[in-house]
């Protein structure tokens, strides 16, 4: 892959304040209007203290250990796509509570408030190096990035838009899996999104997935794994069964790097591990080459 052209790289405007959590785990909040109060943060990987201005400029990657901290969808969009090119769509969709699952309605309300988005994926059209792309970006902060009816519908629309409007699809994954609170509706989103990916494939439109931390279970076992090209951020958690589920099934001894992007890469299940700083350049090259036939 080409080395990134530093001059083409957009350093994000830091519109999101960082508020470190007491226990030393970094929490990134996107509460609009709040001023940045903390000058220092602690890295969730090596626990070293980081100067927040440096941290922001380094795209929330630790200067010392290279730990890639999770990003809100909006920040991801800002650092990946051409400035001002993102046109958000599907914002009108709202999850219902078809199972009347205990505490789900409350969780939804607080997730919407916390992230200022309608569900765990933000979708729309954007441009990368002036080439149009259909994009979906997941946000772990919204109920663990879980896929229920709305996330499934938005991913499906993203892939269908790519097929219909003949532009490449780029999906950033960050999810614990299917959303348990919507039961079978969530399970069916696995089939629905996979069907949409199949349609993309048949239309001859490239689909690129990026696994960020974490990409798990129902999301990994559906649209994420069948992209034409799969990239991952370093050390992202990538796996089928969460540890609590595995333990229950009697899985005890696991390799040290089990369910990391590096483990998955080592077993041939993804194409490249790409540091955050190089992601835009890698995606640009892929869109230019695999999607070259679409612009003629």
């Amino acid at each position: 892959m080409m080395t990134p052209d530093a001059s083409s790289f957009i350093v994000p405007r830091s519109s999101f304040p960082l508020i470190p959590e007491q226990k030393g785990i970094l929490f990134l909040l996107s509460t609009k209007g709040a001023s940045r109060t903390e000058a220092f943060l602690q890295c969730a990987g090596c626990k070293k203290t980081l100067f927040s201005v440096d941290f922001e400029q380094n795209l929330r990657v630790c200067n010392y250990c290279g730990h890639h901290h999770r990003l809100p969808a909006q920040t991801r969009i800002e650092i990946t796509f051409d400035e001002g090119s993102f046109e958000e769509l599907d914002t009108e969709l709202r999850s219902l509570n078809p199972l009347e699952f205990p505490e789900y309605a409350e969780k939804l309300v607080s997730a919407v408030q916390k992230t200022q988005t309608n569900d765990s994926v933000t979708t729309g059209r954007a441009k990368i190096d002036e080439m149009p792309v259909s994009v979906a970006v997941a946000d772990f902060a919204f109920m663990g990035g879980s896929m229920g009816s709305v996330a499934g519908e938005k991913i499906t629309r993203t892939l269908e838009r790519a097929a219909d409007e003949r532009m490449p699809a780029i999906i950033f994954c960050a999810s614990g899996g299917a959303r348990m609170q919507e039961g079978l509706f969530s399970l069916m989103q696995m089939a629905k999104t996979t069907a949409a990916a199949q349609r993309c494939s048949r239309a001859g439109v490239p689909y690129i997935a990026v696994f960020s931390d974490p990409t798990m279970a129902g999301v990994l076992a559906s649209y994420a794994s069948i992209a034409d090209v799969i990239l991952a951020e370093p050390k992202a958690l990538v796996g089928f069964a969460g540890m609590r589920v595995s333990k229950q099934a009697g899985v005890s001894k696991v390799p040290d790097d089990f369910q990391t992007a590096e483990f998955v890469f080592g077993h041939g299940m993804l194409d490249r591990i790409v540091p955050r700083k190089e992601m835009r350049a890698s995606l640009t090259s892929l869109v230019k080459t695999l999607g070259g036939h679409l612009r003629r």
């Binding site: 969709l93 709202r94 999850s95 009816s149 348990m180 079978l184 989103q189 069907a195 559906s222 796996g239």
Partner: protein, 323 residues
């Protein structure tokens, strides 16, 4: 609360054992007068047993459905295959170096026509259960299924899949060989097919492990089968960190065939004999066979490209949201 089907059915089994003992007694009894008395008792007990079954099975709660769906006496995929398919030749291997025994399948004749039949297979005794990995398929199981789907497409054979798995295998080996990709690829392949596909959940429809071979034109469920995004134990572990609250999770997940039908997730509920499929397997086979023949017949009426589009439309419309 009972944690398995044997335990739950114990009162019923005790009654049945009593009946067997009485029958034994009646056979040995030479005095006709005494024999009449015993025979009368047998009739009484059998009536009581029938009432018991009525009460037990008429109002099965979600957790009881889970127990029935997991019952070891319940007919499994190969039981259905052997009873209603001819010329079945089991195929094996993923052609990438691995074999899996939790998914079985091969070409067969069904209702006089060639079909490809694929399904999860559980085992009954300890060795068999280990051999079948408790019905939890590894990547090679899904890849074998994909081979069979491919052949079905090339040789214009409709596909029937039987769904009965607690989940896909979550072990290190399966992760190493890409269980997630294998499941996704299974669905991906099913959406490519232009031959009719029908799936039926005959026991446990366990999340990704199930949907990997269940993306069909028609999806049916037996009356007491369950279909869920996560096993109730896993759900309870995540929600309350207490796997023993699985019965509460089963209720919250709305995983019964009746719920799945009401939600529009499945097309049809296939009735089971009184007291569940395991009480009268022959009757269960007939009911399943009738439903499969009818649904396959309906889908077969469509043109190949329409069959593919119909499947897309079906899954495309699934979801519950406001816009």
């Amino acid at each position: 609360m009972a944690t398995n089907h044997n335990e739950w059915e114990k009162p019923l089994r005790d009654l049945e054992e009593g009946i067997d003992k009485l029958k034994e007694l009646a056979r040995k009894e030479s005095d006709p007068a005494k024999r009449t008395v015993i025979d009368q008792r047998i009739i009484d007990f059998e009536a009581r047993r029938d009432r018991f079954i009525d009460v037990f099975y008429a109002n099965l709660g979600p957790w009881e459905k889970v127990l029935v769906a997991r019952a070891q006496k319940r007919p499994y995929t190969l039981d259905y295959v052997q009873s209603m398919f001819n010329d079945f030749v089991e195929l094996d291997g993923d052609r990438r170096g691995f074999v899996d025994h939790a998914i079985v399948g091969g070409p067969a004749t069904f209702d006089g026509k060639p079909v490809m039949v694929v399904g999860h297979q559980k085992g009954r005794n300890i060795q068999d259960r280990q051999f079948r990995n408790f019905g939890m398929a590894k990547p090679e199981g899904y890849r074998k299924a994909i081979r069979m789907f491919d052949m079905a497409e090339r040789f214009r054979m409709p596909v029937i899949t039987f769904i009965d798995t607690p989940a896909a295998d979550p072990g290190v080996e399966s992760e190493s060989r890409g269980i997630s990709e294998a499941i996704a690829a299974g669905m991906f392949k099913m959406f490519e097919l232009t031959v009719p596909t029908v799936s039926i959940v005959i026991g446990e429809g366990g999340s990704g492990g199930a949907i990997g071979i269940a993306a069909s034109n028609r999806v049916l469920m037996q009356e007491h089968a369950v279909y869920s995004v996560i096993p109730p134990e896993g759900c309870a572990a995540i929600l309350w960190r207490m796997p023993e609250r699985a019965p509460d999770a089963a209720k919250a997940l709305k995983l019964t065939a009746q719920h799945a039908k009401a939600f529009g997730i499945i097309d049809e509920i296939v009735a089971e004999p009184k007291g569940g499929a395991h009480r009268d397997p022959l009757e269960a086979y007939l009911l399943v066979r009738e439903a499969l023949v009818r649904n396959l017949g309906e889908v077969s009426q469509m043109e190949p490209c329409e069959i593919q589009a119909d499947r897309y439309r079906k899954f495309r419309s699934m979801g519950n949201f406001s816009s």
